[in-house]
């Protein structure tokens, strides 16, 4: 029996009777996540070959993207890069599970999800390069701006999904957040609104073990982050975040449920951040190598590769093709990122308001005069 078939579940059936005897009657048990993260790889479950090969190719490309972007920070081309190495299964599955009309609400770590959804790899990096905050039109691929303040994108996803449903559109919003972000008030408010409104939203928590340096045990006392769903009246699901097939399946279930009016789902994907928080972070201060090594043995690409190889889905030439495609992407990214961005200082004033205020026009004139004066000086020196 699925959750929305249960008597009393969901907002529509939520009809409090007057006191004194009122108590919510919904049995929380079906909302509870499995005690262990859900896994597909390594089981006998049938696998969709074409989907698995697509996931594999995207994982390989994603890993290469992470490595390339990290290298670009060392060359000073990016101010900072929060790598999702080790978490690619979540990133890629999140992108591939959505239909074209759906919306993705990524956090700052989810560049890869945006790229896997089709965003130009360079446009995905402008925030981190520092030439503009969001280098793309969110409407083009239906990807909200990469969000830096933690968990604040979650209510946006709820509002958008709610608006789409009011308009009668078939749109699901998928919102991504880290384990640390689940402690923020916006996480609570978003989940509560989503459940009360039965909005077509899926919340994906990537539990990668740490919020910068703070481990999960100092973040929450809950049995799991997925357990939090129960209190809102939505199902919680716990999944192995390094098992691409499992993440995809659980997300696909939740997206389908949202699409048919079943309301929101909270999914916790248990994964690990192999790299430091960003290039500015020293991860040796808060974790030991043995832990990292143990997680390397549970690598999302290796897990999928081994499974697909043993099932005869993947041969050496397919592997080489994936690696080559990733290399081509990385070379193109490198080349394009090595070109200096051309910036127009007047853009500072261009998009504060739909129409510039008198104050901004004055300041614009001031900057223009300053620039002209500098140019004259430069020419004078020459």
């Amino acid at each position: 029996m699925t959750v929305q078939e249960l008597p009393g579940a969901g907002a529509a059936a939520y009809r409090p009777t007057p006191p004194p005897a009122w108590r919510p009657r919904t049995d929380p048990a079906p909302l509870l996540p499995d005690p262990e993260p859900y896994r597909v790889l390594g089981t006998e479950a049938p696998l969709d070959r074409a989907l698995m090969l697509r996931l594999y190719a995207e994982l390989v490309r994603g890993r290469r993207y992470n490595a390339q972007a990290t290298a670009l920070t060392k060359q000073g081309r990016l101010a900072v890069y929060p790598s999702s190495t080790g978490q690619e299964a979540c990133e890629v599955a999140a992108a591939l599970v959505l239909q074209e009309q759906d919306w993705l609400f990524p956090s700052y770590r989810d560049t890869l999800a945006a790229v896997a959804r089709g965003l130009d790899p360079v446009q995905a990096l402008t925030l981190l390069r520092g030439d503009w905050h969001t280098g793309y039109d969110p409407h083009e691929h239906r990807i909200a701006p990469l969000c830096t303040p933690l968990a604040t994108q979650l209510p946006h996803a709820v509002g958008l999904a709610h608006a789409a449903r009011l308009k009668g559109d078939d749109v699901v919003a998928l919102a991504m957040v880290g384990d640390g972000g689940t402690s923020e008030g916006d996480f609570h408010e978003a989940l509560n609104f989503a459940a009360v409104w039965q909005a077509p939203v899926v919340f994906l928590v990537q539990n990668n073990g740490f919020a910068i340096s703070v481990p999960l045990a100092k973040q929450t006392a809950a049995p799991s982050l997925a357990h939090k769903a129960v209190g809102y009246g939505m199902p919680g699901r716990l999944v192995d975040g390094n098992d691409a097939a499992a993440v995809h399946e659980v997300l696909a279930d939740a997206v389908a449920r949202a699409r048919r009016g079943g309301g929101p789902t909270l999914i916790e994907a248990v994964t690990y951040r192999i790299e430091a928080h960003t290039n500015a972070d020293d991860a040796t201060r808060y974790r030991v190598d043995a832990e990292v090594e143990a997680w390397r043995d549970h690598d999302p690409i290796q897990l999928l590769e081994a499974e697909l190889t043993s099932r005869g889905f993947l041969d050496d030439s397919a592997k080489e093709a994936a690696a080559e495609a990733a290399e081509t992407m990385a070379a193109a990214l490198r080349e394009r990122m090595n070109a200096d961005a051309e910036l127009d200082p007047m853009d500072l004033f261009a998009h504060v308001y739909a129409e510039k205020t008198a104050q901004l026009r004055e300041q614009e004139a001031q900057l223009r005069a300053e620039l002209a004066a500098h140019q004259d000086e430069d020419e004078g020196e020459r």
């Binding site: 969110p138 308009k167 408010e189 308001y353 008198a358 104050q359």
Partner: protein, 334 residues
């Protein structure tokens, strides 16, 4: 120009009428907030909207200000025009994160591709005997945030016109409602056409020659009363109602001060770090050679808003305004 069929008797009704007209004309306008549906809001500003337009258009939300504004952001992303009600000034603070980090900068962040056409209505200011957290003047916080428009009506006509303009604006507007003027009555003929006040334009409420009182919102009636009283001293005071704090109408304000040569800024908000400091600086920078005296400020004291039984000592009243005007004369003579 929009014609209002019936005479709204109070500012509260004018605001309600503005939302009703906007919702009737534009199906993307949605009202949301705490108690705005069945109850019609604690001040009844949204009275009847849920009944007329349905609960999907006028929605009682869960009790969570960040969630209300945060979901409104998502609704605006999808092409709706949310009008959010914050129940009282100090209860908007949980939503500051959304307002400052997202509402105000979404257009800028996305290089113009994603605007935020939403309105945040905030009943603000004192004078109604409210207990703690029900009387704050929070305009300085909003004014300090680029990307927001900040407007506040002082008359029934402006309540209607400015709210229509705010809802029609493609940028986010913080709409500050002087709650002690909610029940002030209009003096206009029932069938008079009502102009939609352009955001960013101040008006001269009372012409005068001796000095300019620069004010807005709840302090406008105070200044008008002070100007009447001042005639007994032989002073002819001009009263400028800003209506819009952002964008700021330097032109109207400075034209007035250049005429009169003297200015006092009057508001309820604290003086230190308050709007008056900014306004006085702007006027001084632009009108220094026309000034006969320093620009003075009459503001609330620099204290947390006091308990209701003491608020009369805190709020700038007619006497305090007249004292300041007297000091202007003295400064000029010395």
């Amino acid at each position: 120009m929009t014609t209002v069929a019936a005479k709204p008797a109070t500012m509260a009704q004018a605001l309600q009428r503005a939302m009703r007209d906007a919702m009737a004309e534009d199906p993307t306008v949605h009202v949301l907030g705490e108690d705005v549906g069945t109850l019609g809001g604690v001040f009844r500003i949204t009275d009847g909207l849920a009944k007329e337009f349905g609960e999907d258009r006028c929605t009682d939300t869960p009790l969570a200000e960040a969630g209300i504004l945060g979901t409104a952001v998502g609704m605006a992303m999808y092409g709706l025009r949310p009008v959010v009600e914050m129940q009282f000034d100090a209860f908007a603070y949980p939503a500051f994160e959304q307002l400052i980090s997202h509402v105000s900068r979404m257009r800028n962040r996305t290089a113009g591709s994603m605007g935020m056409p939403l309105v945040v209505r905030v009943p603000y200011g004192g004078g109604i005997g409210g207990v703690e957290h029900h009387s704050d003047s929070s305009e300085a916080y909003y004014m300090a945030t680029p990307g927001l428009h900040v407007v506040t009506p002082a008359t029934v006509e402006d309540a209607y016109g400015l709210l229509r303009a705010a809802i029609a604006s493609d940028d986010p507007v913080v709409f500050l409602e002087p709650k002690r003027l909610y029940w002030s009555k209009a003096e206009w003929s029932p069938d008079a056409p009502t102009e939609v006040a352009p955001i960013g334009k101040a008006v001269v409420r009372r012409p005068g020659r001796s000095a300019t009182l620069i004010t807005y919102g709840p302090s406008v009636p105070v200044c008008l009363e002070a100007a009447e009283a001042a005639t007994a001293e032989g002073w002819d005071l001009e009263v400028v109602d800003l209506r819009s704090l952002v964008p700021f109408d330097d032109e109207t304000v400075c034209a007035s001060v250049r005429r009169t040569g003297r200015a006092v800024v009057v508001h309820e908000s604290t003086g230190f770090g308050g709007p008056g400091g900014e306004i006085a600086a702007r006027v001084t920078e632009r009108c220094f050679h026309h000034l006969e005296a320093p620009v003075l400020r009459v503001a609330g004291f620099d204290i947390p808003y006091p308990p209701p039984m003491l608020e009369k000592h805190h709020l700038p009243g007619v006497d305090r305004v007249l004292d300041a005007v007297a000091r202007l004369q003295w400064e000029a003579e010395s």
